[in-house]
């Protein structure tokens, strides 16, 4: 007999109540956020600590946020990393299995710099951030990192219940140039700060695709209830000119789906 208890990726259904006033989280977003923050810190803190004038670390303390920064990042600590899910789509994986493909974005925002005077020294900042994202996502694990108590080296996809994920692209540049194309402010016709010394926030926005399996009902073998589960199917392949005169080719078993068929995510 099936039960309604199931999951979509790392999203358990029904959601466990947890402790009083505990956060209601998107486990995929939280996992990716923590994982990418680790890679950034691991990959860039040594260099950042050797450059004076701006943040000595690639991320300010606790400056990791699981939502779209929009323009509100100016109210929070910088440099910062934001990860959020923007949209998702349904995809069929097998005859039985469906999944959802999610468009997840990671945006890294550095402290304000001035163009052109301050650009050359940190010209490679965003390219390096994007390179770290590309490797972190493609590689899928870090041998010094385990998420949420998992052993170091555990693939983050396994830790958060992703079926697969993929690095799609990154775009980067200066956000909120000032004076210039200030978000939400009508520009004076014909100006917009063109030609001015401009202040702005270097930022890198990376698009990640994530696939999460939409689980089927989970079967429960109730005691004393016959045929409440789909059984294994005994199958024989035969050959012959007619159905009355055949020769067995092969016999085998088609196992019933128990929910573990495509657990491998590595």
């Amino acid at each position: 007999m099936p039960t309604n208890e199931s999951a979509v990726g790392g999203f358990l259904q029904p959601i466990p109540a947890g402790t009083l006033n505990s956060e209601l989280v998107d486990p995929t977003v939280r996992g990716i956020l923590d994982y990418l923050a680790f890679w950034l810190t691991w990959g860039m803190n040594a260099k950042m600590g050797n450059m004076q004038g701006r943040s000595p670390t690639i991320l300010a303390p606790a400056a990791v946020f699981p939502y779209d920064p929009n323009a509100i990042y100016v109210r929070q600590s910088l440099p910062a990393l934001y990860v959020w899910c923007a949209r998702e789509y349904e995809e069929q994986v097998t005859l039985l299995r469906h999944c959802r493909r999610r468009d997840i974005f990671a945006q890294y925002i550095f402290q304000e710099l001035v163009s052109p005077q301050g650009m050359t020294a940190r010209e490679g900042l965003l390219g390096n951030v994007a390179a770290i994202f590309a490797r972190a996502i493609t590689w899928g694990r870090h041998y010094d990192y385990g998420y949420n108590g998992d052993p170091p080296g555990t693939p983050i996809a396994r830790s958060v219940g992703m079926m697969a994920w993929r690095y799609r692209n990154s775009e980067y540049g200066m956000s909120w140039k000032h004076p210039g194309t200030t978000e939400g402010v009508p520009e004076r016709m014909g100006t917009g700060g063109d030609g001015a010394v401009q202040w702005g926030y270097p930022t890198c926005k990376t698009h990640i695709e994530v696939w999460e399996r939409i689980d089927v009902d989970r079967p429960i073998d109730l005691p004393n209830v016959p045929n409440d589960l789909m059984p294994d199917i005994q199958m024989t392949m035969e050959t012959g000119d007619t159905t009355e005169s055949t020769t067995p080719v092969r016999s085998g078993v088609l196992p019933y789906p128990d929910g573990s068929e495509d657990d491998e995510v590595d």
Partner: protein
């Protein structure tokens, strides 16, 4: 001196009346600052802040565009007995420098020069844009 230059001296004297030594009705003090770094580029190395000048007599300041701009006037143009020149209001920064405007008072914060309106004979009108992006801005 021309008549305009003579009058500029008079205008400058009159503009001191609303200032802090007179009626004290102009609450924002405006300074031009140069930030320099010893690493050869802006925001690289150790920072040194140099105050280039204060805009005196203290000008009026009008906050516009949801607090994102500050219109500063009158700034008395250069004349034989005083005033401020373009080079002071809008200096050219070196590769390791930036120039900012610092305001002390109700509209305190750091600003960048966005426009100098210079068509009037007795005043410049400066438009500054605030560098702080968190709106609405706290007062005081």
């Amino acid at each position: 001196m021309t008549l305009r230059e003579d009058l500029l001296d008079l205008v400058e004297t009159l503009e001191e009346i609303p200032g802090p030594t007179g009626c004290d009705i102009r609450q924002n003090a405006v300074f031009v600052e140069k930030w320099s770094w010893d690493g050869g580029q802006a925001f690289l190395g150790n920072l040194t802040v140099t105050v280039l000048c204060e805009l005196l007599p203290r000008p009026r300041t009008n906050q516009t565009v949801d607090g994102r701009e500050l219109v500063v006037e009158p700034v008395i143009p250069k004349h034989p007995k005083g005033g401020l020149d373009w080079d002071v209001l809008n200096p050219s920064p070196a590769a390791n420098e930036v120039v900012v405007y610092r305001v002390e008072g109700p509209n305190q914060g750091y600003y960048v020069l966005y426009n100098i309106e210079s068509s009037r004979p007795f005043r410049y009108v400066l438009t500054l844009r605030v560098l702080d992006r968190d709106y609405p801005r706290p007062v005081g």
